[in-house]
Symmetry: C2
Subunit: 597 residues, 2 copies
């Protein structure tokens, strides 16, 4: 099945997904300690009957009995060699049960081991494990892949990448949240949605977690920030022990009572997780019969995410900056620590920048002396920084191998800083962004360097944007940097940077990023010049400055610009800050006066 086909259905109807398999399996004779997925091989008819009940209940997507059918989990039952057989069979049973008009989703759950550095699992191992299962499911005939009950966003990412590699079917991915509305490893609904959207899943959402009441909030938060259709599969309320057995407290009718609210919160596909039965799904299906999905939000804001936090970049929101200080060039103590393979210093630099106000942290591990491999330094740097701060990162390298290595360990949706108008770089970086779910930063230069005219610089920006859009990267994930030259040595071309920036913003409809500090390189009193240039660049349409967050003057500019561009409504934030500043100056003066008495 193609994604477009699924999307056409989702426009017209709320699809009812099936409910729990586990409870039904126990009723069908699954013993404790037995492998549930092995039943595909030995109890085909039982599985078929469970599927049929859901189909008859009115479900329009049923999923294969393959939740734990990956090599690592099956190996616990000594069934590592049955991966293909179990998944293929699971697909075949469901296919047969589905009949006309009902879709089959190949179910994939977590591997059950944590990824490095939290656990023993490497990117490659996880990838191959998911790939193998997905391939078997797809070749077995499923219409789509459903990656579910994910509690680690990094694992979900790898599963999505692998599933998409395995075949051309829509991939759905749902995360499981805890009561604090974060996943076990700390991802909130917006961040999950941002990351999964960037990976271009067909549908994203949440499953398991809790009952439908709390799911409403998760859905609403996702709906607000993503264009993707949403799926929700709540449990049948809260678990309770009745006669030593775990039951759930919502009856089919009670659960169905939430159905329209879930639709109103943005759900396109509604199923059930733990405790739900064909009865629950039948009640749901009846309630939602003829129900249409609500209109999708028009989302134009840009999003960058760490594993646990999303930064929104939008004309209506206060400016964010990218802290530029993790850069080995000219920073001896950073360089030395990297040489000594001590990344605490790098992590601390990230923390200090966040404390100073940076919302996004650039990580540049470019080293020219050949004593440290950039790739090793970058991977270690990214890991150290993402452990230390929850700010999204900008992976700053022109080397695409280094970039890919960083992408494999990064948990969030980073900025790829950078590509440019050179075909080779452009195609490879776009490919990485699509594959790993990242935003890209395109510099207006190519193999010939920076063009001498605004027109030619703009043309390169246009080329980058067109190429990325054609490859399927949404405009909000494309940023252009029109390259700040130094006012000292290249004064003549300084205005061109802002002229090009303005055109890019106005004519190409993408957002802009600019390294600002370079403007004052080599001049005395850099602060004033940099601050003035920053203000001018913001007026020209700069969205995100890359800058030194420790410099107080830039904050005065940013806070002012927030007021002047309507990003700080009623100047509330400015007034708060200004009043503190005025107060601080006053008490400083009084202190000086007292001392001089």
């Amino acid at each position: 099945m193609k994604k477009e086909e699924l999307y056409r259905r989702l426009e017209k109807e709320i699809l009812i997904f099936d409910g729990a398999m586990g409870t039904m399996l126990q009723q069908s004779g699954l013993k404790a300690g037995e492998c549930p997925e092995a039943m595909n091989l030995h109890h085909e008819e039982s599985i078929f009957q469970i599927h049929r009940k859901y189909v008859e209940a009115g479900c329009r997507i049923i999923q294969t009995n393959t939740f734990g059918a990956n090599r690592i989990k099956l190996d616990l039952y000594g069934l590592a060699d049955q991966v293909e057989a179990i998944n293929a069979k699971g697909a075949a049973i469901a296919r047969k049960a589905a009949g006309e008009g009902c879709l089959v989703a190949g179910d994939m759950g977590p591997i059950g081991k944590l990824l490095s550095p939290l656990g023993p699992l490497s990117y490659e191992e996880a990838y191959h494990t998911f790939y193998e299962q997905a391939k078997a499911l797809i070749e077995g005939g499923v219409d789509l892949i459903n990656i579910e009950t994910m509690s680690d966003i990094q694992e979900a990412k790898i599963a999505v990448i692998a599933a998409k590699d395995a075949g051309d079917v829509p991939v759905i991915c749902t995360m499981t949240f805890q009561k604090d509305l974060r996943t076990l490893t700390g991802t909130d609904p917006e961040t999950a949605a941002a990351i999964l959207e960037a990976l271009d899943v067909a549908v994203l959402g949440a499953n398991c977690s809790f009952g439908p009441d709390m799911m409403i909030n998760v859905l609403e938060r996702m709906y607000k920030i993503t264009k993707k259709p949403l799926i929700v599969q709540p449990n049948a309320g809260l678990p309770k022990l009745v006669n030593g057995e775990t039951c759930f407290d919502l009856s089919p009718e009670e659960m169905a009572g939430y159905a329209k609210t879930l639709v109103a919160a943005g759900a396109n596909i509604i199923g059930g997780c733990c405790g739900t039965t064909p009865g629950h799904m039948e009640a749901m299906a009846k309630t939602l019969s003829g129900e249409k999905p609500i209109q999708r939000q028009t989302i134009t804001c840009s999003k960058l995410s760490s594993g646990s936090k999303t930064v929104f970049i939008d004309e209506a929101l206060p400016y964010n900056i990218i802290g530029e200080c993790i850069n080995l060039t000219g920073r001896k103590h950073l360089m030395e620590s990297v040489r000594e393979n001590n990344f605490h210093v790098i992590a601390k630099e990230a923390q200090s920048q966040v404390t100073a106000g940076a919302q996004i942290i650039d990580v540049n591990m470019g080293i020219r002396d050949g004593m440290v491999r950039e790739e090793t330094a970058m991977v270690n740097g990214i890991m150290a920084v993402q452990r230390a701060v929850d700010a999204p990162l900008s992976i700053d390298t022109v080397n695409v191998e280094v970039m890919e290595a960083a992408l494999k360990v990064y948990r969030g949706k980073p900025l790829l800083n950078s590509t440019n108008g050179e075909d080779a770089s452009l195609d490879r970086v776009i490919h990485l962004a699509k594959r790993y779910g990242a935003a890209i930063l395109g510099l207006t230069l190519d193999q010939q360097g920076i063009p001498e005219t605004v027109e030619k610089r703009f043309h390169l920006a246009k080329k980058i944007v067109n190429r990325a859009v054609k490859a399927g990267i949404p405009k909000e994930d494309i940023f252009i940097d029109t390259l700040t030259l130094t006012a000292g040595a290249q004064q003549k071309w300084v205005p061109d940077t802002l002229k090009t920036l303005r055109r890019v913003k106005e004519e190409l409809g993408v957002r802009t990023i600019l390294g600002v500090s370079n403007i004052s390189h080599g001049l005395p009193n850099r602060r004033d010049l940099t601050a003035a240039y920053l203000a001018m660049a913001l007026e020209a349409g700069l969205d995100v400055p890359i800058i030194n967050p420790y410099e107080e003057k830039i904050w005065a500019v940013l806070r002012s610009a927030n007021v002047l561009t309507g990003r700080d409504e009623k100047a509330q934030e400015y007034i708060r800050w200004a009043s503190e500043k005025v107060e601080a100056e006053r008490s400083k003066e009084q202190k000086v006066k007292k001392e001089s008495l």
Copy 2:
């Protein structure tokens, strides 16, 4: 004769103007103490013969024997009632002598008394005196009026206004310079040219003064800054006493030796003053036979002038600011001094602003309490300020009567601050600007207030520009102010001001002025917000901020912006300033350290 006809001739040829009349008159029997112009009545034939000699020498413009034929000068000879007769007769004689192809200029010299406050002459008295003479000359049949040997720019202004009122012939005006290349009352060649150009004379230049060698420099300086054709009438070198008689040291051939250099310096009309004879002019005419004028400069820079200094406003030059502090609203000590008719405080405020770096001073004498007439305060304010500083002024009032009263006493080319899109204001202010030689500032509002959209604000700007251009005001004398609203109370419309400004600058091709300080009205820590807004406005295309020059932060922005927009080549000025600043901070720190030891 129409100006266009004169211009057509000036495109094709260098016009030879005649030489001295005085020396020739003495040779024709003029006695010491006799009125030279009375000879028109009693020695018609002698005057005719002098003219003929110049015509036969090859002159293509001869001027009437009416240099001192104004009521005030003639009154010294008891001939006040002969003004019309002497001028009319002078015109008739010259006309008869000129024949075909030679033009007759009605000669008008200074009144011989100083204008108030330097002397007893009022604007009205001077105006009527010049008007009467010019009227008689024009009715007597001259082709054009030549106002010459002016050493006070204010008197020249009044003469030009009166001559233009008297009839529709081209008006030429030449100033006389001293060895320091300033007129007796301090006007330099650029400033003379700027003021006379704004008065829309047909041709401007210099006469008398000194020999042709020093005239070259005067011409060159005028040529660089004005689009007007230039006239030069040097003396025949330096005066010397030979046998008790004043002679001049350049022979006709020596004088003619400078002819081509004068043309190369920009002269379109070349004549002679003291010591020149038909012989000199014949040599000139021969040398310049077939010579063509050099191409006119394309002048696009804006100019505002006091009587002694011109400020140039151009994208290639450092930013100028208009000091906003002479404004009675909310400034109690200024208000009180004006009430007490003590304008020293106003004058001092002007000086302080110039010391702080303001290049142009705004004078606003708007008082709401009715105790002082705005017109009186404005006239006294303008007189006090123009005596105290040489910065050009911005006459800040919406009352056109007050504006005209100020224009009558102002010696330079001011900015009329302001008009707007309302027809009544627009037509009257444009009329005043044309008449008195001023630049105008048009605000993008009308009787309905400030429009709510960028489009409508821009439309008002366009209306103002079109109306002014149609009335003959050159674009460089039209400024638009798109009106800064307060970020505190009108945040929503703040971006519109800069959007409109940018469109005005880009699409209408006029320069922009903006009151900047209003942005932070009512907010705490106004400095940072104002400074950031200033930088953003400069990027949006602001040419001249109206601002508080005492605020240090704005200078950091202006100096930075000069670097960033290429107005401070190689950042030389910035580096000088920044080095001083860094040095000052260092020694301050050391002082603090020493004290704390």
